[in-house]
Symmetry: C2
Subunit: 246 residues, 2 copies
């Protein structure tokens, strides 16, 4: 049974996140599975590299599926582009090695979080930005971000209090950059806990707004408690940029 | 009575264009007038630099109004930002000289038209792009564009067949640029006829697709007939970037 790998972009505003949930059809996974199953005339189970939150976006989500079909990837791709709504876009579709699995094979991810740091509204990009009009101290945020780099127990940055598995993760890079009125966070790691990027950004923004000290991170990490970290930044600013495979 | 000048951006997707029309409340001008009149507690008539089409956008529309009010511009600006929907953004508001009028004082405008030239969908910017997946000959479009520069009778590029006034206009610059998968047209002129930018872009795209010769423009201009030019490109790709004043 051929194995396929798909590169996806989506505007998450209309969806209750990536993951199909019981009866809920309004998820990205659900919409893609429904469309693929119709095209291939057989039920298809799609594996994403991971869930994205309700309202979060993707420019480089990866997913995989197996299906008993003679249709070549280019034909499936054309059909998907014809039948999917315009807020889900398939960038590429190709045969994958038999053992490839979008979630189990993934070794890392890059997320971007966009903050609009101005009182002057950005109407054309508003759906992909979280607006914070007050002044942000970039230097302080960068000093705090440095303490998040490397391998840590990120339990304080996880919204799931009942997490049984390890909450140890490695952040390889956390870049904060001003682009005109935008402040853009780009974070790369081997994996991310539930809401982790949004809690990291929310905490760094509190540092930038001088509501927390730039040196607050070691204590937050040590607490191993969600209550120690800052607020969860809204999903609309978040975008999954790339998933890495060996 | 103080005179005010306003710099505006808007996402035109939800609106029937700039201009208030009879009972129709669903125009940008109508929405702004309604909001301003409520804030200033007096009927306000707003003058835009010109109409924009239903579905077209603006990053730098200029408008002016007079109102008997003691409220300073900063207070009106804050109130507008609070009460306007998120697809209309006021970038600046200031006192204007007594004789300033956004339409009558304007001496030029710049429009941008964005074409997405790829089969790979751009979901995040889809609302502001017209997708043309087939190959475009940029050199041919540039040669055709050169013949549009300068002062001409642009009647062939005007969607209003009953235009009584002069259809002579001057195009000072028409730049066509590839930015990755995007082809971006930027056109500056002293004024534009009804649908003129969209017909210019639609005609140039036909040249780019090799459905017309690069040398077709002089004949189209000479015809002084809408039927001689190409199709009207969709409004969604169009954005008013800047209005110039002496």
């Amino acid at each position: 049974m051929p194995n396929f790998r798909m590169l996806l972009s989506y505007d998450g505003a209309r969806y209750q996140g990536w993951q199909r949930q019981g009866n809920t059809k309004n998820t990205i996974q659900g919409k893609l599975e429904e469309t693929l199953s119709r095209i291939l005339e057989t039920p298809v189970e799609l594996h994403g590299s991971g869930r994205t939150d309700a309202g979060a976006h993707a420019l480089g989500q990866t997913a995989s599926f197996r299906a008993e079909t003679d249709l070549p990837p280019q034909a499936i791709l054309r059909a998907l582009r014809r039948y999917l709504p315009e807020d889900i876009g398939v960038l590429a579709l190709e045969y994958a090695p038999p053992r490839f699995h979008a979630r189990l094979s993934a070794v890392g991810k890059t997320y971007r979080y966009r903050v609009w740091n101005s009182e002057r509204p950005n109407v054309l990009e508003r759906r992909y930005l979280y607006t914070v009009p007050a002044a942000l101290d970039l230097g302080a945020m960068e000093r705090a971000a440095a303490d998040l780099l490397g391998t840590h127990d990120f339990r304080s940055f996880c919204a799931n209090p009942r997490l049984k598995k390890s909450s140890v993760r490695t952040i390889q890079a956390l870049d904060i950059r001003r682009l005109g009125d935008e402040v853009r966070f780009t974070v790369t790691g081997d994996g991310f806990l539930y809401n982790m990027v949004r809690i990291v950004v929310g905490t760094l923004l509190e540092v930038g707004l001088r509501r927390r000290e730039a040196g607050c991170i070691p204590e937050i990490l040590a607490a191993r408690s969600r209550a120690a970290a800052g607020e969860t930044a809204p999903a609309r600013g978040l975008c999954l940029m790339e998933v890495y495979y060996p």
